[in-house]
Amino acid sequence: MTVHNLYIFDRHGTLLFYHEWLRRKHTSMSKAEEAKLLYGMIFSLKSFVNKLSPTISKEGFLSYKTSNYRLNFYETVSSLKFILNTDNETNQTEIRELLHGIYTQIYVEYAVKSPMVNPGEVITSNLFRNKLNQYVQSSSIFKTH
């Protein structure tokens, strides 16, 4: 039950924040390219799911699972996207709560309300990073190997 890494994208697709806890395999691309690839893929998946669903609900695609990892996706009303990669054994409801908590308790408190953080720019605040780290590590999902 571990958390691998977290990406935060804004409505235009810019990577606002990236943090990794446990990642054993890195791709050969630069971080910016990987972020763009990830954003494009999530966008395609969202429209794929929208086409197939009978009703337009706010909660479209939630997560996907491969044999190696699980990707969890959370989108806010302001089109802010949180992407969290975990391993396969984690509980879905706990992850939804964790993502919701990250948005309400960490992002809103320390990124939106901070005068140093401008919308559309990368978040460099150390306070945000520390609080996020603290929050994730104290949740029940996080266990180090």
Binding site: M41, V49, P54, T55, N68
Partner: protein, 178 residues
């Protein structure tokens, strides 16, 4: 509850598509999609034109490839030599509020997709896909008139697939083609 089964070839083209929802429970046509007001989502799939389905199959093929590259865990050499699911590290399950999509990639690169109710467990979905692969091998691969990687037009395949789905859900699926 099984909603649909799609088969995608190596190149990403849709070669088979079949809907198993009964007509009464299918949602309105795409032009009349309404936002869900109560927040309660009915499970099911929307009706799709053939063109839309072709585009979506291609999209899924691309996404499957990207997800296998984005893995965060090291794949050890030993698992790569055997043909377990770990050696096909693409997407296996896609979850949404109205359906779950189970996917299985064979050793030849053909992808079998199963659209099912969100209540269906992942292991059961993979088992069903295993049975679909068996029906595929027996009726399509062994058919001397079938061109590989081309759309499947086999009455026997339709018949046995219908039989399989009927056994699995005891509801009326589409009639046996004559």
């Amino acid at each position: 509850m099984i909603f649909a089964i799609w088969i995608i070839n190596k190149a990403g083209g849709l070669i088979y598509q079949r809907d198993f929802q009964s007509k009464q429970s299918v949602a309105p046509t795409p032009s009349q999609k309404e936002p869900s007001t109560t927040g309660i989502v009915t499970p099911g799939l929307d009706k799709l034109s053939l063109n839309d389905a072709l585009v979506l199959a291609g999209t899924f093929h691309g996404v499957h490839l990207i997800t296998s590259r984005l893995t965060t865990r090291l794949i050890s050499r030993s698992t790569q030599s055997s043909l377990t699911q770990a050696s096909f590290p693409g997407i296996q399950l896609l979850e949404t509020p109205s359906f779950h999509l189970h996917s299985h990639q064979s050793a030849t690169g053909t992808k079998f997709l199963l659209f099912a109710d969100p209540a269906m467990v992942a292991a059961y979905g993979q088992w069903i896909l295993g049975r679909v692969v068996e029906v595929y091998c027996e009726n399509v691969m062994r058919n001397p008139f079938h061109t590989v990687e081309m759309p499947i037009r086999s009455e026997l395949f339709d018949f046995y697939l219908n039989k399989l789905v009927d056994q699995l859900q005891f509801t009326q699926s589409s009639p046996i083609p004559r």
